[in-house]
């Protein structure tokens, strides 16, 4: 007891006022929790930078935008915001000076945040965060994106104006889960496909969407296309650790787990899963369980010692680049650190994730430790730099050999993922400012920023 008391004193002596505030004020602690649940740090903390000081460079099709400083600094941050001004920024996308934010800030999701939660977040950002006086670089975009007023039109179409009323027919856990999924965690931002105006398409909620280089897969309750075959403990384990039978979190989802989901309480994780399990099924993939495709295989007997030509180059690339960790039969390691390449949604699904994983690797840290795979050239500093052609060959080989699919990966597909994912002709419309296209294109562009920001960080644009 004495030892504990002494330790407590020592700890208080070295703790910052901010840490003390979080320790003492339950409202600040609640806000800290909500800030994690909302993954604020993903955008507002630059790699190697101070917490919430902004400055993360977000690559967009029309130029670089920088996340803002949301520390309580009165000069560079949000220190002068009143509680209501803070609420307006979060829920309506309106700055203290009245200007509209770009929806790189997911205020369309945060619109559902309750008043008590806004109070908690406000308390945390005012008292629990260290003020940083360094201003983040100013975002300067070309016409017409520089006219923030035009965001009002987009908001009229896509911004909901009220919270989510509780559904008495559902359990408390379901209602809490819906509040988190639709609000703070803003899952649909990535997992719901977009329409022509970049709106989230009704009827296809959580059916899967492209997020820059990565594909956020179908997370509806469909047994084949979605995650309907997963047990509840598997879903909870995935959100907490990034690991489930047949699936590993990488890319933007890996970061969401590292920065956000792993900190959710067991009851909130349970709530999120309770709600997600009820999302209406959308079937949009080939028949067959995407987590159970493929089988162990090896071409070593026919290629070892043989001359490498175009036909065997994929196998040689696999053996030289992949097999030293994922094992010669693609079975991975016995302790699960290296995933098996068969029974693995990344190798079985015909989306960009296999190529993105090869290019950018995996780097996810949770309470379980670090899961790491090096990138093979997605960053210019990667120690191994594979060409688009070699990545196409090895990805084609892995899909055919272990993914249960014969779909070939082309050099062009790899090039697309390497440059950050597919772009859209709407971007061109925005650039040349074609009349009616402008407003729609504005929507597209800002949503693309939002979706690409993490990729930008990964590719070193944040430096």
């Amino acid at each position: 007891m004495l030892r504990r008391a002494l330790f407590g004193i020592a700890w208080l002596a070295i703790a910052s006022p901010q840490a003390m505030a979080a320790d003492i004020d339950p409202l600040v602690a609640q806000g800290d929790y909500l800030a994690k649940a909302s993954d604020c740090t993903a955008c507002h903390t630059a790699p190697g930078g101070k917490a919430f000081a902004g400055g993360l460079a977000i690559a967009s099709p029309v130029g670089t935008i920088y996340s803002s400083n949301i520390t309580p600094s009165k000069t560079a941050g949000i220190g002068l915001y009143t509680r209501d001004q803070f609420a307006a920024a979060l829920r309506k996308g309106v700055r203290r000076d009245g200007a509209n934010l770009y929806p790189a800030m997911p205020y369309t999701a945060y619109a559902v945040l309750s008043d008590p939660d806004i109070d908690a977040l406000y308390a945390y950002f005012m008292k629990g965060v260290e003020p940083v006086d360094g201003a983040a670089p100013k975002t300067s975009l070309p016409f017409p994106m520089n006219i923030r007023l035009s965001m009002m039109a987009w908001n009229l179409i896509f911004l909901r104006d009220s919270g989510l009323p509780s559904d008495p027919a559902q359990s408390a856990a379901w209602n809490r889960g819906r509040y988190l999924v639709e609000g703070a965690a803003h899952c649909s931002t990535c997992h719901t496909p977009r329409g022509f105006l970049m709106e989230e398409r009704s009827g296809l909620a959580f059916a899967g969407g492209q997020v820059g280089a990565w594909y956020a897969p179908n997370i509806t309750s469909d047994k084949n296309s979605g995650i309907g075959s997963w047990s509840k403990p598997a879903l909870i384990g995935y959100l907490r650790d990034g690991v489930a039978p047949g699936a590993r979190a990488a890319g933007t989802m890996g970061e969401a787990i590292e920065h956000s989901f792993q900190y959710l309480t067991p009851s909130d994780l349970d709530a999120v899963v309770t709600y997600i399990e009820t999302v209406p099924a959308v079937e949009n993939a080939k028949p067959g369980d995407r987590f159970d495709e493929g089988k162990p295989a090896s071409d070593l007997a026919s290629t070892r010692g043989a001359v490498i030509d175009d036909a065997t180059q994929g196998a040689a690339l696999f053996q030289g680049n992949c097999a030293s960790c994922h094992a010669p039969l693609g079975q991975g390691g016995t302790d699960g650190y290296f995933p098996s390449l068969f029974h693995n949604s990344t190798t079985s699904a015909p989306n960009s994730n296999l190529v993105a994983t090869i290019l950018y690797g995996v780097n996810r840290t949770t309470a379980q430790g670090q899961a790491f795979m090096p990138g093979f050239g997605g960053a210019p500093t990667d120690s191994n730099q594979l060409s688009n052609h070699d990545i196409a060959l090895v990805a084609t080989y892995v899909r055919a050999e272990y993914g249960g699919s014969g779909a070939a990966v082309t050099d062009t597909e790899v090039a697309t993922v390497r440059q950050g994912g597919p772009s859209s002709p709407l971007v061109l419309i925005a650039r040349i400012g074609l009349g009616v296209g402008v407003v729609a294109a504005m929507g597209l562009v800002v949503v693309l920023w939002r979706r690409r920001h993490r990729l930008g960080a990964k590719r070193g644009f944040g430096e």
Partner: protein
């Protein structure tokens, strides 16, 4: 018409020394051009070449790196090929068959990754024991650079000072130690029963976590000849980062001449492409970091009217004092399995046997358990027995599990008679091949007779050996040192405390060649520390220019 290239800093050689320096200078805002004599290949190509080799090449660790016609190096494929490039003579010619490769990324491609530091005593041999030389500075001067080198390469090591060598450190290792495999543990336990401490080696290998863009070690046990996943630091892994920072790397560019000018400053270097086409490369500062054999060779080749004995050679010490750790090997047969090969190829050493008052009389030695997997050796040996079927399988298993190799590496003193000169024989581009005279001398021989060999036999028996055979012919450790020896006095040394040539204010010769004494441990970390010290001096020199 001669072509030309130019940059602020010209670095000849893309090994660990060249790469560390290039990155420091790029970070300081200077332009850097690197020249590499050999080709540049991808890691997976080396891995596949290695795995496709027939088992008979098992003893040739360079076999995955065939020399190019224009950048030859010692080729261990056969006795004939081995004799082709390095011209070796003297009582211990065999012990200077140094394995290095002339490839982009240099010889760290196939190093074990071991990162021992010198001890304070290792740097004061003359004043403490009356042998060898003293360094021009002490351990405390070098310590900050050791630490920086450990962080630059990503070195893992023990946090317990009782297990550190030496336990004089300003910062912890960037990563924690790797665990021992069962064979190393057996060796450690046997050593402990004899009152000796087998220490976990500091090693440039990621333990449990990623470092830079490289993954943690997963125990492929093929560090030599190549880490297939890049968990071990090798300079090749930093080449893309150097390019991302704006550095330019030219490969297949064989530098054959250093050109001096007014004030005996270096004006340019000249290189041949594989067809013998020459290019002149100018810069402000020049770094020759081609290893301890190729660098003195190039200095001697570049003799001109100002420098008739060769560039940087007014002291006549260029190419002299050639050092290594002469090695003996104990082949051990054990009653019980040791299971060699779990983890990296090397992971520990007994270091205390390198130190002591006996150093006035004879060399100390490092003793270690070689953790390179023995399955291929076991299989080759078993096949010779004529056994078949299950009996063959059982014999392969027994030979793989119940045999081991212990290694003794001795401290060699700097001796001016151990000397590299230019052979009259020429390579394909007409460049003289190196000729080296080598004698390990009575200091090492006495150690082998009365100290190291008896000790290793004791250790082997303590491990439960049923048979021990210790070699008597010394072999190479591939730690090439001494040829551009450092010292305070320009009359008897080649470079100053910053690896700057005494004779040329803008010429730097960092690396193993600059080491004043060798110690018993692997040389790379000391070379890297000297490189960072030299880089600081270069940045300061450019700032004053």
């Amino acid at each position: 018409m001669t072509q030309t290239e130019s940059a602020d800093i010209i670095v000849v050689g893309t090994g660990v020394i060249g790469c560390l320096i290039a990155e420091q200078l790029l970070d300081a805002g200077h332009s850097v051009l690197m020249l590499e004599a050999g080709p540049r290949v991808e890691r997976w190509q080396i891995v596949e070449k290695y795995r496709n080799l027939p088992p008979v090449t098992v003893t040739n660790l360079d076999a995955a790196y065939p020399p190019s016609r224009w950048a030859p190096f010692l080729d261990s494929t056969s006795a004939t090929t081995a004799a082709d490039y390095l011209q070796l003579e003297g009582p211990n010619a065999r012990a200077y068959r140094q394995d290095y490769v002339r490839y982009a990324g240099g010889s760290t491609w196939h190093w074990a990754g071991i990162c021992w530091r010198l001890t304070p005593d290792d740097m004061r041999l003359k004043s403490l024991y009356g042998v060898g030389r003293d360094w021009a500075f002490d351990y405390a001067t070098l310590e900050p650079y050791y630490t920086r080198a450990e962080y630059a390469m990503g070195v893992c090591g023990p946090s317990d000072p009782d297990l550190q060598w030496p336990p004089i450190r300003s910062k912890p290792y960037p990563m924690g130690r790797l665990p021992f495999g069962p064979g190393e543990q057996k060796f450690t336990d046997a050593a402990a029963r004899l009152g000796l401490k087998n220490l976990p080696a500091a090693q440039a290998r990621n333990s449990g976590v990623s470092y830079d863009t490289r993954p943690p070690c997963c125990g492929n046990n093929s560090c030599i000849p190549v880490c297939p996943i890049g968990a071990k630091y090798d300079a090749a892994s930093s080449l893309p980062r150097i390019e991302a920072k704006g550095g330019k790397i030219l490969v297949n560019a064989v530098v054959y001449r250093i050109e001096t000018g007014t004030g005996n400053q270096v004006q340019a270097v000249h290189y041949f492409d594989p067809n013998g086409q020459s290019t002149r490369v100018t810069g402000k500062l020049f770094v020759i970091a081609c290893n301890g054999i190729e660098t003195p060779k190039l200095l001697l080749m570049s003799a001109d009217t100002r420098n008739p004995r060769g560039v940087a050679n007014s002291s006549d010490q260029v190419g002299r004092n050639m050092m290594d750790q002469p090695k003996l090997v104990a082949a051990v047969t054990l009653a019980e399995p040791a299971w060699t090969g779990v983890g990296p190829v090397q992971g520990s050493s007994i270091m205390q046997t390198s130190q002591g008052a006996f150093r006035s009389e004879h060399a100390g030695a490092l003793l270690r358990f070689n953790n390179m997997a023995r399955s291929r050796l076991g299989a080759m040996q078993a096949l010779k027995t004529g056994l078949v079927g299950k009996a063959l399988d059982a014999e392969i298993r027994r030979l793989s599990a119940c045999t081991a190799e212990l290694t003794l590496e001795h401290e060699l003193l700097p001796n001016p008679n151990n000397r590299l000169t230019l052979s009259s024989k020429k390579d394909a581009l007409g460049i003289p091949k190196p000729n080296i005279y080598y004698d390990v001398g009575p200091y090492v021989r006495k150690s082998a007779e009365i100290y190291s060999t008896p000790l290793v036999k004791q250790l082997a028996h303590e491990m439960g050996a049923t048979d021990v055979k210790v070699t008597t012919e010394f072999t190479n450790s591939d730690h090439i040192m001494g040829g551009m020896i450092m010292g305070a006095d320009p009359a008897d040394s080649v470079v100053d405390v910053d690896c700057r040539a005494h004779d040329h204010a803008n010429l730097f010769l960092p690396g193993g060649g600059a080491m004043t004494t060798a110690g018993c441990g692997n040389s790379t970390l000391t070379m890297a520390a000297l490189a960072l010290k030299a880089a600081d001096a270069m940045v300061a020199q450019l700032a004053h220019a």
